[in-house]
């Protein structure tokens, strides 16, 4: 009887252990690693200087002298340098009448370049990709760009593919969110995240002040990121995702309409950037940090901050600066969306960051401009090229997008990084002594204009 009882206990125990093993095995495969990434760099013939930007504005018949001055002032003080890239149609003078093909060709150039390079470098064949997420905000085509990628690279039939559009400059992290969730369900998978922005079909041909700015600020760029949850590739991986937080302020009307695509009075479609944009951005940023901080900062810092704020509230003193939470206790590097000089300055001020912390974002803005959703990866490339990323470092990515969204995530660096990437031909020139626009003197008379006539946005 004792042996019978022993058997009775043995079978369930072994079954229990088996189930435990399955649960632990499942957990092991739920981590999200970046194997490799490649940012797009067009040829030198696509570089656009401030002088050429002036030419483009001047040849646009719809823009009068006032708009010309306004735009030039914006470009000169934007922090964008002389080596950023523009779509091909601008060089052919066709920006006011782009064809449907222009939009597709612009995307093709990027898709044929970056994806091939990232797959070659990591030795993964396209037919091994299990998940594909493509996000390009401002173009819809049928079949989708994701189908275009599948056709070009002959990917498998049972691939999980998603094509995100309209999600703005923060869509990169939304794509990572999708991959993160799928990795928790599927084991041993490869995922490819392709992010870019379409500029050709979105040139605004009118002269509404709030809408002409978008023409001058966005630049061509894109990135392909190869991710995996295979535990065997952990040694080759570059980064591991620790946490990701998304904040959506669409419920607030002013946040929703501060950055919106619409028609002007003449029926021309453009991207309207409202004056309330910085305020909406700050609000979304603060909300996002409220959720993110407890997840990434050490307990000591959280306690210190809560004690300091509490004591300030109790003492009701307005003197001195507001208590600022010190993010550097939990984060080593800051990867900011290069939305513009004001955005970088604003974040730097609210997080109390030094010039060293803001350097990657500023240099990316200078060298590549605002490439929308893919800008984060260029900033990451700068840090890597400057050999700043060491094993165990924590990297914080922040991005903003229309809607109004603020998405952020924390990556852990898994090994010392310093590969050649898109910055390798110019990294030694950075940081330059002077970031000021060389045409500041030429167009310096703009700075003497009456400030009541113009308002520099954000």
């Amino acid at each position: 009887m004792d042996s019978f009882l022993l058997l009775l206990c043995f079978l369930p125990v072994s079954y229990l252990l088996f189930k435990l093993f399955i649960v632990i095995d499942q957990k092991r495969h739920q981590c999200c690693y970046i194997l490799d990434y490649h940012c797009y760099k067009p040829g030198d013939d696509r570089k656009i200087s401030t002088e050429f930007s002036g030419e483009i504005i001047r040849r646009n018949k719809n823009l009068g002298l006032n708009e010309y001055k306004f735009l030039l002032k914006a470009i000169v003080s934007s922090g964008i340098g002389e080596q950023t890239y523009a779509p091909e149609m601008i060089f052919h003078g066709r920006e006011t009448c782009p064809t449907f093909e222009d939009g597709i060709t612009e995307m093709d150039e990027f898709l044929n370049d970056s994806i091939e390079k990232v797959l070659d470098r990591s030795g993964v064949s396209p037919s091994e990709i299990d998940v594909l997420v493509v996000n390009v905000s401002m173009i819809t085509s049928l079949p989708s760009l994701a189908a275009r990628v599948i056709n070009r690279y002959k990917m498998r039939e049972d691939i999980k593919v998603y094509n995100l559009t309209g999600m703005g400059c923060s869509a990169s992290l939304i794509a990572v969110n999708i991959v993160q969730n799928i990795f928790k369900c599927c084991k041993n998978a490869y995922a490819l995240v392709v992010t870019s922005e379409s500029l050709s079909p979105n040139w605004y041909t009118g002269n509404h002040r709030s809408m002409i700015l978008a023409n001058c600020l966005f630049r061509t760029g894109g990135c392909a990121v190869l991710m995996t949850n295979k535990v065997t590739l952990k040694n080759r991986a570059m980064f591991k995702l620790k946490c990701l937080v998304r904040t959506h302020h669409g419920a607030k009307d002013d946040s929703f309409s501060c950055c919106i695509q619409r028609e002007d009075e003449q029926g021309r479609v453009g991207f309207h950037l409202d004056k309330t944009l910085p305020k909406s951005a700050t609000r979304a940023f603060v909300d996002n940090l409220k959720v993110m901080s407890p997840k990434i900062l050490p307990l000591t810092e959280l306690l210190r901050f809560s004690i300091v704020s509490f004591s300030r509230k109790m003492s009701q003193s307005i003197d001195g600066s507001r208590p600022v939470i010190n993010f550097k206790t939990g984060v080593n590097h800051f990867c900011l969306h290069t939305g513009g000089k004001a955005v970088i300055d604003g974040i730097g001020q609210s997080l109390n960051l030094s010039e060293y912390d803001l350097e990657p974002a500023r240099m990316t803005l200078h060298r590549f401009g605002n490439t929308s959703a893919s800008s984060l990866w260029y900033v990451l490339g700068y840090m890597e090229a400057k050999k700043r990323l060491k094993k165990g470092d924590k990297l914080f990515m922040i991005s903003f997008g229309a809607g109004f969204k603020c998405n952020s995530c924390l990556w852990e660096v898994l090994r010392d990084l310093g590969d050649r990437n898109v910055w390798d031909d110019c990294i030694d020139n950075y940081p330059p002594e002077n970031l000021a626009n060389p045409f500041m003197e030429k167009y310096g008379w703009i700075n003497d204009e009456d400030p009541s006539t113009f308002k520099v946005p954000e």
Binding site: M1, L5, L8, C9, P12, Y15, L16, I22, V23, Q26, T99, F100, E101, M138, T140, S141, L142, P143, S144, A147, R148, I150, N151, K154, M155, R156, E157, D158, I159, K160, V161, N163, L164, T165, G166, M167, G168, I174, N177, I178, N181, C185, V245, R246, H248, G250, A251, F256, C259, I260, Q261, R262, E263, V269, D287, V291, A402, G403, F404, K405
Partner: protein, 498 residues
């Protein structure tokens, strides 16, 4: 001549019973094997006396420790078993957009508008007329207000208005039916192929209903008529990861920006077939929703044939020589759809077919491979696996082709044909109009299995398998079919004379 038919009839009847017997035997094989075991146990019990049983009971020494350990173990095992199973996804309810009567486009209006707008191109008018006659559409399909103008005024403001009308109406209806509070929505997925403003349509929904700031929202575009099932797949993956959550999916197609103003024949077809429509669906993995949910999601299978150039190019948005943008459909669309369906069936067959059909398929495959007999490929009888079929109402040809390939009866494809007649091709939401038709007809019983098949540009073929959770009693008091279900099914002639 009656004599030759009678033996054929009796032979077919005999075959039918043989087939039924075979299916019954194979599908219930385990029960059949258990019968001898059960009989022997019963015989043993009959022979033992009550004294023997008492002796057996006393010989098992139970003390408190043993009992407690075993109980503890059983509870432990049960917990782990339930934890390691994938979460069940329930479809709580769904709502379809019902276009107002003022937006109807009867044939007479289509003809009149075509003649006025394309007065310089009589051949295009004739071509569109011929398509309409054979399309299988009825007189009550709807187009958005901007397309009713002469000439149509497809600007962005009108597109946004159409989006608001369709999406908000479907969402309002869903919130009312389910009693869901907007603040309780955890995941939002919106799919619309050809209209994607910035901020996205999902941001528009978040703004209108004041959804939470930590909502996980996604906006899928460009994925064609099968995007509804792609959204369901994404929602399923997300709901596996997030416990105790719900997801709202909005599937629609905004027609306003896609009116084709040129005269290329391959591009005129979508003008005649696509109509206004939209659906909002609520999925949940909460235990509390199990009782009131209508369906349970069993499988989602996706097939993407984009790697083949022919399949990729068969539905393409492009510019014609005159600069008008439209969607061109290639001649071999049906053949490609059949190929994509075959690939999809290869994956879904083993998951849903009963053992009898799988064996038959295996034998047929072996016969072809080993004996190299040039017999036709055996198409499994999917009627054994499903009670209802929802085939995307892409067009009459699609439904005919699938009916032929899957050997379905007229009743199986009735929902698809009637949806095409009443609402036209509403792209990704057509599957939900078809489900609604089956419910309105009172055919949806508990335990019924439904197969939704959708095709899309790329070329994709996606399937979803649902199981009905509770019998849905007709007549239902809301839904897009509420005022016209009694008129259906209608006879749709091959050619309607205009």
């Amino acid at each position: 001549m009656p004599t030759p038919t009678v033996p054929e009839f009796s032979k077919s009847v005999k075959l039918k019973y043989v087939k039924l017997g075979y299916q019954y035997l194979v599908n219930h094989i385990l029960t059949f094997l258990l019968i001898p075991v059960m009989l022997s146990v019963a015989l043993q019990l009959v022979h033992t006396s009550p004294d023997d049983l008492l002796a057996l009971w006393n010989s098992l020494h139970f003390n408190l420790v043993h009992v407690a350990c075993s109980l503890f173990l059983i509870v432990y095992i049960a917990t782990f078993y339930f934890l390691s199973r994938p979460r069940t996804i329930y479809l709580v309810d769904y709502a379809c957009f019902k276009p107002p009567c003022s937006l109807r486009v009867p044939f007479a209006m289509c003809l009149e508008h075509a003649r006025i707008i394309l007065s310089s191109q009589p051949k295009s008018v004739q071509f569109q007329l011929r398509i309409l006659e054979r399309s299988g559409l009825g007189e009550e399909t709807a187009l958005p207000p901007a397309i009713h103008y002469l000439p149509p005024e497809p600007n962005m403001a009108a597109a946004r208005e159409e989006a608001e009308m369709v999406i908000f109406s479907a969402m309002d209806s869903l919130l009312k039916k389910t009693g869901l509070k907007p603040k309780d929505i955890d995941i939002l997925i919106v799919n619309c192929s050809l209209f994607s403003p910035t901020p996205s349509l999902s941001a528009m929904v978040v703004n209108k209903y004041k959804l939470r700031s930590n909502i996980k929202s996604f906006n899928l575009a460009g994925m064609g008529c099968s995007a509804g099932l792609i959204s369901i797949d994404l929602a399923r993956d997300l709901l596996q990861v997030h416990p105790n959550s719900n997801a709202v999916i909005v599937s629609t197609e905004i027609i306003t920006p896609n009116c084709y103003m040129g005269n290329q024949r391959s591009m005129l077809l979508p003008n005649c077939l696509f109509r206004m429509g939209g659906a909002a669906i609520l999925l949940s993995n909460r235990w509390s929703d199990k009782r009131r949910a209508k369906f349970r999601l069993v499988h989602v299978v996706r097939t993407h044939k984009g790697a083949e150039d022919k399949a990729y190019k068969c539905v393409q948005q492009e510019e014609d020589p005159e600069g008008h943008v439209g969607i061109s459909l290639s001649i071999n669309l049906m053949a490609i759809a059949a190929e994509a369906l075959k690939s999809n069936i290869t994956t879904i067959g083993p998951l849903v077919l009963p053992a009898s059909e799988q064996l038959l398929f295996l034998f047929a495959l072996l016969r072809r491979k080993i004996f190299k007999k040039k017999t036709k490929a055996y198409v499994p009888d999917f009627k054994q696996a499903f009670e209802h079929f929802c085939i995307h109402a892409g067009g009459r040809a699609v439904i005919d082709e699938l009916q032929k390939n899957l050997q379905l009866s007229a009743e199986h494809v009735e929902a698809s044909r009637m949806t095409l007649h009443r609402f036209g091709n509403t792209s990704s939401s057509s599957l939900w109009y078809e489900m609604s038709y089956i419910e309105a007809k009172g055919r949806m019983k508990r335990g019924d299995r439904i197969w939704q098949i959708a095709f899309g540009s790329g070329f994709k073929c996606n399937s979803a398998v649902w199981k009905c959770n509770r019998t849905i009693k007709a007549p239902i008091d809301d839904g897009p079919w509420v005022d016209c279900i009694d008129r259906y099914p209608v006879y749709i002639p091959d050619v309607v004379k205009l």
